[in-house]
Symmetry: C2
Subunit: 162 residues, 2 copies
Amino acid sequence: MARPSSTPTSETARALRELLRVASDTRGALARRLGIGTTDAAAIDHLISSSEPLGPVELGHRLGIRSASATTLVDRLVQAGHVRRAPHPHDRRRLALEVTEHAYDEVLMALRPMLVSVDQVVSRLTPEQAAATTAFLRAITEVMREYVATAPTDKQVGGPQP
Amino acid sequence: MARPSSTPTSETARALRELLRVASDTRGALARRLGIGTTDAAAIDHLISSSEPLGPVELGHRLGIRSASATTLVDRLVQAGHVRRAPHPHDRRRLALEVTEHAYDEVLMALRPMLVSVDQVVSRLTPEQAAATTAFLRAITEVMREYVATAPTDKQVGGPQP
DNA sequence: TATTGTAGCTAGATTTTCTAGCTACCCGAG
DNA sequence: CTCGGGTAGCTAGAAAATCTAGCTACAATA
């Protein structure tokens, strides 16, 4: 994300902020490689990495878009052959969106050059360094998850008070 | 980005991929906190962290949008008071976009909760761990920078051949 | 000087998201 | 059981963002 050049606490924090800014750009890069929009790429990303099945509404919630937009988004993804609408096992209101195998392979192919390089960098770590780095990454992930979760759902920044 | 659940090379790589996926979501979270669109937030992010002055065209290039869209984007940012159009010192065709102090402070305020938490996590590292982690982050940043740079500029994924 | 390439802008079309409102469905209180 | 509140998903029409195409002004160079 943004790297405020003031408050330069430490080298590590600075390196991390730089990484986060570039990391945010990788989603757009993936989208361009797949030839789809950034929201669509983010959607597939969420669907692939989610532990629980997602429906259009919940997916839209995680993407920060409205229910109606999520329906259109899923329409797009289905028509492009990236996603299937499957019924939810317990709740007949819901859908369980599934990423097609073809789309999954496409994502993997588009990411491969980065994943290969990442593995090379990781392989150069000693076991001790790897352990410390993994713990660090997980802690930072938790921090950012919290940050994302506490962002306002709606565009109510300076909302008026009754 | 996406976390392919196959090819589980290492714990560290897995943690990193999880981080990258969440990191991509932070830009949207920042945008919602600022009450602007994701492209606008990405633009301000780039303007703040760029070492050299950017004009609309170059900014649009980094965001993966067209020159015309960049002009409209800058119009939006200027009207919202986030950005100023300043003349380029040497080239009279160009503009040097400047983030206003107010917008800069807004970004800093919106990011503060995350930055504080990040600093706390960083402060728990030993000097050796910090050094190794910093080197790791920089290497990964370079990998991702390369990935973003080599993404197709246009939407030419399966383009037909003459 | 004439030519070629680039930065920025405008007009109009296209794509994406939003607001508003609908039906079908789940679940807990009476 | 059934009634009412809440949720999931969809549709229609409006609003917003981006795109294509083409323009002028300027810079670099033959």
